[in-house]
């Protein structure tokens, strides 16, 4: 029974995908969207069932479907592992996935390829579930690659726009670099442990019979994989470009679910990272630096989705910071609250873009508060949450990260604090520019301003509620999440007891965020400052506005030399090789041209040569005697 239910949970979105691929064009858009949504809702309901069951007996279970690979002493089965961690992920992947499917029915209604959109979304959910529930690294890798593929398909969904295609390709290639790391890490683990099954690896690690130097490399490679998928330095550049996709995609894939795959993987392999402290340090540093860099870029962006994209990168950086300190439950907590408020923010921005018929530049927005009250209030709640204002969800999770950082490394704490203060600033900058003051767009746009339909606002409201109260799952008093995760994550870090120091840290974070908000208020409301046109930006802010020229740097350091090399191969090496190969042909041709002259066609001559040959052979035989 459980096996079948688990199978349904896994395959339901896949069936939705198949339906939309084969019949989506024949049925109406509404049915196509409804089927896609129901497929995910089924998974969500089953996740809740399993979750309730898990809560009762407190033990996860592993199901093996079939033996997959068997080579000498290496054995791998295709199975799923439903424990606290994977169920938690399942809940918010399918839950937020359902909401976003619902939202997409309305958002994508004018698109002629709506069935294709839902097919991709369903396929994505299927692969994400595979990634999460797999009982070994290889199953996770299937999901890992699958979500990458869906991400590519969805970023390039409006394929008639060439820059969008480029963005899709960029995401795919950047991810591929990370995937190579993941693969190598996996091979090393298979080499060391002769298995890829999580529980088996864990028991082997606990026994301690391992070659630690190779394990360090393996952990580092896995982290590179996580860097690619979760958009960390230096592989983060694809995520902001991924905003080319339709907004529900940005909300689902590039904010709430797929980008947390790296964090999931590291949390899953926590026992491995626990015994490689050097790699943990690297993770913490990379996370902190990413969060600061991305936050600083976010300060000056004018595209509403780009701001949110950089804030996603920044928040992911904070999660990696927590992972680096071994505080996996803290990172998971932030993943969940982040999924709530970031999905809400993206969907809200989608609602704004929808109302403005595709306008994404905040310089052409403003004053939307009175036209779109629901969108405004839901986004406001989420903005308060992401800025870390008491008592919204983000406050609790971000605060735990900062506390963990403070207890481990003061420098990184400062970095992370600055990043989170910046977050408060640019998020309120976004809110002020979008919703306050007067509308700055064209008259025609102003005429069409309207609140979005209820299919769009309902998910917004639900997510906003979650963003407001989501922190309750891990309040400092109860720590429900930490207790829940205890069977999976051996909690090394005792839950912080709330002492004076902790209250002070909370205070600092809160005051910092408030100061940032006030500053943003004085700049964008009091002084009515509107960001300048692109060509008027100068000095350091120009560098920041242009994303620190990281893309240009990558172009210069990788793309250009690569192009030069291939150009060299094409114009010089290939013709030379061609000539070399061709010269053999010419040689053979020349020799045979001479040789065919022997064949005169005169039978008499042939006979003569024939007899002469026999005579020669016979004479030779006589002489050789």
């Amino acid at each position: 029974m459980e096996n079948n239910l688990a199978l349904v949970l896994l395959l339901s979105p896949f069936i939705g995908f198949l339906f939309n691929v084969f019949f989506g064009k024949k049925v109406s858009k509404g049915i196509s969207g409804a089927i896609g949504t129901i497929a995910v809702v089924v998974s969500f309901l089953l996740s809740i069932c399993f979750f309730a069951q898990l809560n009762q007996n407190g033990k996860g279970f592993e199901i093996s479907f079939f033996d997959w690979i068997q080579v000498s002493n290496f054995k791998l089965d295709f199975g799923i592992l439903l424990d606290q961690l994977s169920l938690l992920w399942l809940l918010f992947v399918t839950g937020i996935g359902s909401l976003i499917h619902l939202y997409s029915i309305s958002y994508m209604h004018d698109d002629e390829n709506m069935h294709k959109f839902f097919a991709y979304l369903n396929l994505f959910i299927f692969f994400m579930i595979t990634l999460v529930v797999g009982n070994n690294l290889l199953v996770m890798f299937i999901g890992w690659e699958g979500v990458g593929l869906c991400s590519y398909l969805l970023i390039g969904f409006w394929y008639k726009n060439q820059p969008y295609n480029d963005a899709a390709k960029k995401a795919f290639i950047m991810n591929r670099i990370g995937d190579l790391g993941f693969l190598i890490g996996m091979f090393l683990i298979a080499y060391v442990f002769s298995t890829l099954n999580y529980t088996e690896i864990q028991s082997l690690v606990v026994k301690g019979e391992t070659n630690s130097s190779l394990l360090g490399v393996a952990a580092l490679c896995l982290f590179i994989g996580a860097c690619g998928k979760s958009a960390q330095l230096p592989l983060y550049t694809w995520l902001p470009d991924a905003m080319a996709g339709p907004t529900p995609v940005s909300a689902l894939i590039h904010a709430a679910t797929m980008v947390t795959a790296g964090i999931f993987m590291i949390t899953r392999m926590n026992f491995l990272f626990d015994i490689t402290p050097d790699v943990q340090n690297i993770i913490a540093i990379v996370g902190a630096v990413t969060s600061l860099v991305a936050a600083s870029i976010g300060l000056l962006q004018n595209d509403i989705k780009k701001v949110l994209a950089y804030s996603t990168v920044s928040q992911l950086g904070l999660m990696f910071l927590a992972l680096g300190f071994g505080a996996y439950n803290v990172a998971v907590f932030h993943v969940i609250t982040h999924a709530f408020f970031k999905a809400c923010l993206f969907l809200g921005s989608g609602s704004v873009i929808h109302a403005l018929h595709g306008e994404q530049d905040m310089r052409n927005m403003g004053g939307l508060k009175k036209y779109m009250p629901i969108t405004f209030w839901t986004m406001m709640i989420s903005t308060l949450a992401i800025s870390g204002i008491f008592p919204f969800a983000g406050f609790w999770s971000k605060d735990e990260i900062l506390m963990t950082a403070f207890h481990n490394n003061t420098v990184l704490w400062v970095v992370a604090s600055i990043a989170s203060i910046m977050t408060a600033f640019y998020m309120f900058r976004l809110m002020y520019l979008t919703f306050f003051k007067e509308f700055r767009g064209t008259e025609e746009q102003k005429h069409h301003l309207h609140e979005s339909p209820s299919l769009i606002t309902i998910p917004l409201v639900i997510l906003a509620v979650l963003a407001a109260i989501g922190g309750a799952i891990n309040l400092p008093g109860s720590m429900w999440l930490n207790h829940f995760l205890e069977p999976v994550l051996v909690a090394k870090h005792e839950a912080h007891h709330l002492g004076t120091q902790e209250y002070m840290l909370m205070g600092i974070a809160l005051v910092g965020a408030l100061i940032a908000i006030v500053w943003a208020y004085s700049k964008y409301i009091k002084q009515s400052f509107v960001p300048k046109e692109d060509n008027q930006i100068t000095g350091f802010s120009k560098t920041v506005y242009n994303l620190y020229y990281v893309d240009e740097f990558y172009t210069f350091i990788i793309v250009k030399p690569l192009n030069a090399l291939s150009n060299f191969f094409r114009t010089t090496l290939e013709p030379a090789l061609g000539k070399l190969v061709f010269s053999f042909g010419t040689l053979a041709n020349g020799i045979s041209n001479q040789g065919r002259k022997i064949q005169t066609g005169s039978v008499g001559l042939y006979l003569f040569v024939f007899v002469l040959g026999i005579c020669a052979i016979i004479s030779y035989l006589f002489i050789a005697r």
Binding site: Q599, V603, G604, Y606, V611
Partner: protein
């Protein structure tokens, strides 16, 4: 059985064979008529056959004679095929002079 070799020595058989063979060779080399070339080849074959039989008698061993039967059968088949080819060459060229058969030129 060996008595016949007492009357005429084995050397004479060898000489005769060599002579016949050389006649055949020269016939092949000097004559231009394809049929005569054929006949010369037959002479060469028969020279060899003669040698086979002579040695077979000398060694009191029947294998040589058996071999001769084979070679005669093969020769007969070869002649049949060869003559057929010659007939078709004649039909095409109106001649069986081997100097005119230049179609095998490379």
């Amino acid at each position: 059985m060996g008595n016949i070799l007492n009357q005429i020595g084995i050397e004479n058989y060898i000489f005769l064979s060599v002579l016949l063979f050389c006649i055949g060779v020269f016939g092949v080399l000097y004559r231009r008529n394809a049929i005569i070339v054929f006949m010369s080849i037959e002479i060469m074959l028969n020279a060899v056959n003669l040698l086979f039989v002579a040695f077979s008698t000398l060694h009191q061993d029947a294998e040589g004679q058996i071999f001769v039967f084979f070679s005669m059968a093969v020769a007969a088949a070869e002649v049949a095929v060869g003559l057929a080819i010659l007939v078709s060459i004649f039909r095409n060229l109106g001649s069986i002079e081997i100097d005119k058969l230049k179609n095998l030129k490379g």
